[in-house]
Subunit: 345 residues, 4 copies
Amino acid sequence: MSVRAGVLGATGAVGQRLVQLLDPHPEFEITALTASESSAGQSYREAAKWRIDSPIPADVAEMTVTETTPEAVSDNLDIIFSSLPSGVGRDVEPAFCEAGYVVSSNSSNHRTASDIPLTVPEVNPSHLDLIEVQRDERGWDGALVKNPNCSTITMVPPLAAVEEEFGLDRVTVATLQAVSGAGYDGVSSMEIIDNAIPHIGGEENKMESESRKLLGEFDGAEVQWHDARVEASCNRIPTLDGHLENVWVDTVDETNADDIIEAMETYPSAELHSSPDDLIHVFDDAKRPQPRLDRTREDGMTVTAGGVQETDGGVQFNCLAHNTLRGAAGASVLNGELLAKQGYL
Amino acid sequence: MSVRAGVLGATGAVGQRLVQLLDPHPEFEITALTASESSAGQSYREAAKWRIDSPIPADVAEMTVTETTPEAVSDNLDIIFSSLPSGVGRDVEPAFCEAGYVVSSNSSNHRTASDIPLTVPEVNPSHLDLIEVQRDERGWDGALVKNPNCSTITMVPPLAAVEEEFGLDRVTVATLQAVSGAGYDGVSSMEIIDNAIPHIGGEENKMESESRKLLGEFDGAEVQWHDARVEASCNRIPTLDGHLENVWVDTVDETNADDIIEAMETYPSAELHSSPDDLIHVFDDAKRPQPRLDRTREDGMTVTAGGVQETDGGVQFNCLAHNTLRGAAGASVLNGELLAKQGYL
Amino acid sequence: MSVRAGVLGATGAVGQRLVQLLDPHPEFEITALTASESSAGQSYREAAKWRIDSPIPADVAEMTVTETTPEAVSDNLDIIFSSLPSGVGRDVEPAFCEAGYVVSSNSSNHRTASDIPLTVPEVNPSHLDLIEVQRDERGWDGALVKNPNCSTITMVPPLAAVEEEFGLDRVTVATLQAVSGAGYDGVSSMEIIDNAIPHIGGEENKMESESRKLLGEFDGAEVQWHDARVEASCNRIPTLDGHLENVWVDTVDETNADDIIEAMETYPSAELHSSPDDLIHVFDDAKRPQPRLDRTREDGMTVTAGGVQETDGGVQFNCLAHNTLRGAAGASVLNGELLAKQGYL
Amino acid sequence: MSVRAGVLGATGAVGQRLVQLLDPHPEFEITALTASESSAGQSYREAAKWRIDSPIPADVAEMTVTETTPEAVSDNLDIIFSSLPSGVGRDVEPAFCEAGYVVSSNSSNHRTASDIPLTVPEVNPSHLDLIEVQRDERGWDGALVKNPNCSTITMVPPLAAVEEEFGLDRVTVATLQAVSGAGYDGVSSMEIIDNAIPHIGGEENKMESESRKLLGEFDGAEVQWHDARVEASCNRIPTLDGHLENVWVDTVDETNADDIIEAMETYPSAELHSSPDDLIHVFDDAKRPQPRLDRTREDGMTVTAGGVQETDGGVQFNCLAHNTLRGAAGASVLNGELLAKQGYL
């Protein structure tokens, strides 16, 4: 029997990707779509101005969009996926949890709160058990689970592979991020054509804190953040989709390029519908990965890496992931699949 | 009286910039233009297919292009500027030096040879004295002086400012480089539109070695390379001009952002025609510098910086320079001005 | 003595170009800057977030921005330049005229009204005399003069040259328009990277009606619109500045390419400060004009043309102009210069 | 039983698309791949430097590339698809026909020869019978069939729909063409970023002649070209794939937008594997079609149209097709399917 799913913020860049992923999904069925007050009452077709390069799913197109409140959506929902703007989601998502809903959210609020699981199912599924702590503390029947920022997700699987075998001491990362990460109207064409912007507000901090929480240990009561030093510099460039990252790691143990590549290639994926066969694909060719060529590998859920080289005391590599699939909508759907598998729905 | 200048490789991307800079230059006068054999005998207008967004200088347009050999150019030359492809220049430039010419070259060959000065006039003018060593060893009447790679020049002035005040221990740099750095046909549109390429062949090595030579000490006999650890990762992105770089520095002495900014802002420029008033301009705004907005500051000769932040043990900043002006043609012209000032012409 | 000028809507894409042009202008002096209510009271530096690739003029940067009402600006103004959004300008501009101000406006409202002069000084300066009709009808002490839409201005000078010699029967035009024509936030990067949009709301109609008014005859009482059939199709493409247009003309008289080229090249410019030496520059090379190479010719005030070919019954050509200079801010400044010359200030 | 297919020029932009389409094709099986002499003997993986954003087909990747001569390929071939550069194909393709091969070619040579069928299977399948004339005249056992240029294919289906119902008198078309139409290295990034080029050598003539041949009548002996006047202006813009075209038609009979839309929407597709369900899809939204959103509709084989408006004496509309799928590789495969169906293989 299929799981009935609602999508909060269904008309935005990530919301449309959620609809694209959930519509053909074998486990989920879209039964509610919300957007801002001004869109409520419209058909999804009208409200969304569909901007993905495959046609809008025919059945979803005619659904009526409602306001984003627990009262406005129908009761018959087993899970809610949220891609609300962070400021909007901050109060709305807890309101849904209090009303008894399980929420898998891509919204950046609450990600580093001590009782909110921040999970990438292939990397730290055990953190999901924080839900028990959360319910105790907040008295919720529902639950709130977060996936990290798109730029964080891109580097975390390869870092987890390195951590497991050789330990992480210091991580330095420069990102080349696609415009879709800022939403449909987030970056104007006059800002970015023939240009690059060397700062994305709040992004550096998110990469530093979220990656340390994700790579931390959950001891049954709280997550002990990883103590690696993480420094990020985030750039916006004129690409549509796919975040590319240059990463330097100082490892705890000595290592070499071959062992790092093997650690990445053998790092296990998860047994979930949306997990790729290869969580990390490593290219031999130093000119790969490239956003346009590699972002859709395995439906955009594989993290690709390349240019792996040993350095004095560590390793340098590049990695890439599709920011609105692996890095946002796909990440939320994966968390939904994990929630279903572990019996939370 | 003006200095008579020849340009080797005058039809390429950097060669056209050399012509653009030298034509109105108060000290130099273009008296010879060379290109590949197939262009010899054509007017510069025909051979160059001028691609800069200001009209081709009218007088230069009608000059006849010659082959790139000491025999083919007229004797009446005081200095030669070379922007030959590296492989072509490797033997041709020394042949001109042997024939008695002083050559200011942007070509990447010989840059790290022990008797070839690699100079940025505002940073290490004293290295020019290597010419004496060079003449002793090679028996040349002429001389060969190099400017560094465009990606190296971009970061060296701010690094020199940090080095002088606080010392450099470790430098990590990620570049976002414009397509003009690869020449007119170096990057096809299908490679780079909606894309980025995380590797530029040889560029990482150039940044690591050239910056250490530039920041080294010349002791009268040789240059003692700076012993900082330098690691680079070089990316090509869809911008036309202007290389943007994210730099992390571990300093020898403790420092803070304000002191670093002051060191950069007060780092002296040179008293040469093409040197800018401010060698380094530091922005308050973390979103600057940006290639399109900042690459032409002071005729494209200023290095702009921004996002200066202290880190645990050092500093992080971004910097930018126009890669074919400050980073190539302008760098060669500056070396020519320094050669003239120090009496080598 | 300089003419004191105010700029309405000074923070937008065209407003910043007006400031860039007026600041060094020998006849005008900026003495007032207005913007929307939310910016009033801020310095221009704060309010404008200057986005042109030359530094913000230092003196203008510290001026205080006021609201856009006749009451809010100082009395000491001789002329007002307006680049207000059309909807805002519709009522505000007449209010300034009623308060006695002479307004040179780029805003698209009122352009086809029978008593409002729509002028390109090199093409139809005599239409300025409509001001007498306007003052009679509206009882204004001030006056309102318009320049046409950027896409119209681009083709009107070459069309005027053809009209004068051979007559216009039918004009078909396809445009390739730059994103700056829609203002700083008018086209999002996700809409236009690796894309093109085959429609610009209202633009086709503007080209059809404005060009017929501009090319019409003013008989002392009204403008008899030209009766040529004009059909336009307007496309947005991923260029920053410069509108390129493909034009087909059926002429009244027989003609040929050489005569058309001569008509264009000899079409006179005006004796105004901002008029270029060559109003129309015609390239031999069929691959020109190109936006990036040709948009800044003569400070962006020349219209460039190329690909002139005779057809059965007419001629086909391409033309290009800088849409925010020749096509907007420069057009308004030119009208201001014409108003000054003809004694209206 | 599957048809054994060879691909001439398999490493180029269209050649790679042919491999992408033929590898999973239910009727064809790739059994030979050719390229230039320098690639002969390499694996296809090495020679092709695969640049499509889906992985290289695993089995094809290890095939050995041969030279492009009838002697070099194996005898066991039922059909040959050619995407050779025009100059290379001019002599090579007839050599294959003389050696007995049936060649479906995308190469632009010979397209307007009187005995060479130029076919779009959904539009003029009867022209294929020219093969009999061809064999008589040339004494070939093989045969040579051409598909038109990518820019021609884009407009021909909607023109055929208009022709059938209302007749064509005059066609004026402006194109906005993607860079992939020029091959992988055809347009350098410095030529096209922030730019457009208003001329593509030979393209205007191809559109004018090929469309008239395609829309002509085959009377059993020769094709009577359609006598409509066709005028084209071809522009290159910074998009990767998908040619967008603005078309004006003067029709023979009076018409209106609704009837034109109906004629387009009901124009039949063909019963061939690669023909789309809807040959022409017409959008209501005047802002569509757009290259990035619409080029892959029905695997890139549908022609999309929009902005249909009646004019005085005709109609204006926009249309779009994927230039390397519908416009090149897919067009050749379709002709192959038609050849198979009609018993020529």
